[in-house]
């Protein structure tokens, strides 16, 4: 290449990078504008909502006074949700292994469990465990009963998540494990589950966020969680709208916080798999 050619090529190159940079800059600006508009719409709707709520003659002094009392339920709500989701994961794992089992006993037990739970309302399940079981002499106090009911319910739905995770592990790896002489249990524990469970983390996060709200149903058992506290003071003072708004805001806030962590986790895991599968193929 002669020097003039070189210079021309460089200039052309520079031109390309310049237009590219311009495009990137424009795209960034457009995105910023979009985010700003979205924020504006949110604020607008929120203001509108406040106007509507104002028609209820809200007693703000009352709200401020009972806010700490209601807020104390947030911890209980999160605590119940965490234990319930942990229990649900355990059941979902066994449910998924059963669904994939060739043994009719395991398969039958798993499909029966899933069918019954999906076929009945959560609130019925909660009452069966809290009110029905004592008739058989099994008395469970409110919080454990709520955790069991929520766990059993979510476990049935989450079986699908775990099943999909397990099934996503390629046949080849399973055969490689067998060809090394591993038993089914060793293969599951060492090869399939470590990879499958990783895949179930993001969808389980979504289930947890849903659980935060569904856990309000255990108020029927007299558990002093967020919603229970809200309706308690609401009824006592004939100020239901005020306390419901407080409870709702707290649910919303907690959801937003966990959603934030959830989306970060999802992004990080997506990056991980990209890195893992992007190379070498």
């Amino acid at each position: 290449m002669t020097t003039t050619d070189d210079a021309q090529a460089k200039a052309a190159d520079l031109g390309v990078t310049e237009t590219k940079l311009k495009h990137i800059e424009e795209a960034r600006k457009a995105k910023k504008r979009f985010v700003m508009w979205v924020a504006l719409v949110w604020v607008g709707i929120f203001a509108l909502l406040l106007l509507v709520f104002n028609q209820f003659n809200l007693d703000f002094k009352f709200m401020l006074k009972y806010l700490p009392f209601i807020m104390k339920g947030v911890g209980t709500t999160i605590y119940i949700s965490i234990f319930s989701i942990a229990f649900a994961c355990l059941l979902a794992l066994f449910g998924a292994l059963g669904r994939l089992s060739k043994n009719p006993i395991f398969y039958g037990a798993a499909t029966f469990y899933i069918s019954v739970i999906r076929g009945t309302p959560l609130i019925v399940q909660i009452f069966v465990i809290y009110l029905g079981l004592p008739q058989m002499g099994i008395v469970i106090s409110a919080v454990p009963a709520g955790i069991i009911a929520l766990g059993v319910n979510y476990g049935a739905y989450m079986t699908e998540i775990f099943r999909a995770g397990i099934q996503s592990i390629g046949r080849g790896q399973i055969e490689a494990a067998h060809s090394l002489g591993m038993t089914y249990a060793q293969m599951m524990k060492r090869v399939v589950l470590p990879q499958a469970l990783r895949l179930t983390i993001p969808p389980t996060g979504n289930e947890f966020i849903a659980m935060l709200k569904d856990s309000s149903l255990v108020n029927f058992l007299g558990v002093w969680e967020l919603f229970f506290r809200a309706i308690k003071v609401g009824r006592q003072n004939f100020r239901n709208m005020e306390t419901l708004i407080i409870a709702g805001l707290f649910y919303w806030l907690v959801t937003i916080i966990f959603q934030y962590f959830q989306s970060r986790l999802e992004k990080r895991m997506a990056k991980g798999t990209q890195k893992a599968s992007g190379m070498g193929h």
Partner: protein, 250 residues
């Protein structure tokens, strides 16, 4: 000398499809047997039946003195026997099938530590030796997805060897590789043969077959059409069909 593998009238069906229609052959210790045949002729199925990844329906097979369970219920004894057969026999797959969540060295020691309950330190020492032997020691802390196909396959061979098998099965070990990576894998296999390993190799790398194999088995229509030394098969086969097939792939 006794054969290390005895196969008598082995039959395998997939539902109603008869894939292996009475395979009979013996393999001596240290023998290298290359299996060729058209796609769908049952080459993979034969290897997979030997280490019970597939179940055979009838016949008899003895692998290093252990009888292949055929048509038997999977009792505890049978399951134990299957595992014993598998630990006597390493398998290398076309798609490598390394465990992507474990490093290279962890892939290699997985069998010894988990199946043979070997102490981790011993397993690592031996695993590193094997990785050096397949020239992969510098990558021992990498993950499989960071390796080329040829490198992955060499690790897969080391992983199988870590169980100290007496027999190695290779199912088209170079078919998924870019042409320039085939050589490094065949080289490792050649050295393994030189060390006296008994090997059953499904491959259409006829250069390798000519150089390394003691026998070539041409599989077709569910059976062994021809079983002869490489020179004989490649220059003057007994069957017209063998010649046609070789002309087609060469």
């Amino acid at each position: 000398m006794e054969p290390i593998i005895i196969i008598k009238d082995l039959k395998k069906y997939f539902q109603h499809l008869l894939v292996l229609d009475g395979i009979t052959t013996n393999i001596m210790p240290g023998e290298v047997v290359v299996i060729i045949g058209r796609s769908g002729s049952g080459k993979s199925t034969l290897l997979r039946c030997l280490n019970v990844l597939e179940e055979s329906q009838s016949g008899y097979a003895l692998i290093d003195g252990i009888e292949l369970p055929i048509g038997q219920k999977r009792t505890r004894e049978v399951r134990k026997r299957i595992i014993e057969i598998r630990t006597h026999m390493g398998m290398v797959f076309q798609e490598f099938n390394l465990f992507p969540h474990r490093t290279i060295i962890d892939n290699v020691i997985e069998g010894p530590v988990i199946v043979k309950k070997e102490d981790r330190k011993t397993a690592i020492a031996r695993g590193e030796e094997l990785l050096s032997w397949v020239d992969m020691i510098e990558k021992k802390d990498y993950y499989p997805d960071q390796l080329s196909g040829g490198q992955k396959q060499r690790v897969a061979i080391a992983r199988a060897l870590a169980m100290e098998p007496k027999i190695m099965l290779f199912d088209e070990p170079t078919s998924a590789l870019d042409p320039e990576l085939i050589g490094e894998v065949l080289n490792v296999m050649k050295r393994l043969a030189e060390e006296g390993m008994t090997m059953l190799v499904v491959t259409h790398e006829m250069g390798f077959a000519r150089e390394v194999a003691d026998r070539i088995i041409f599989l077709g229509e569910g059976g062994i059409i021809e079983d002869n030394p490489p020179e004989k098969i490649m220059e003057n086969p007994d069957h017209e069909d063998t010649r046609l097939f070789l002309n087609h792939i060469l």
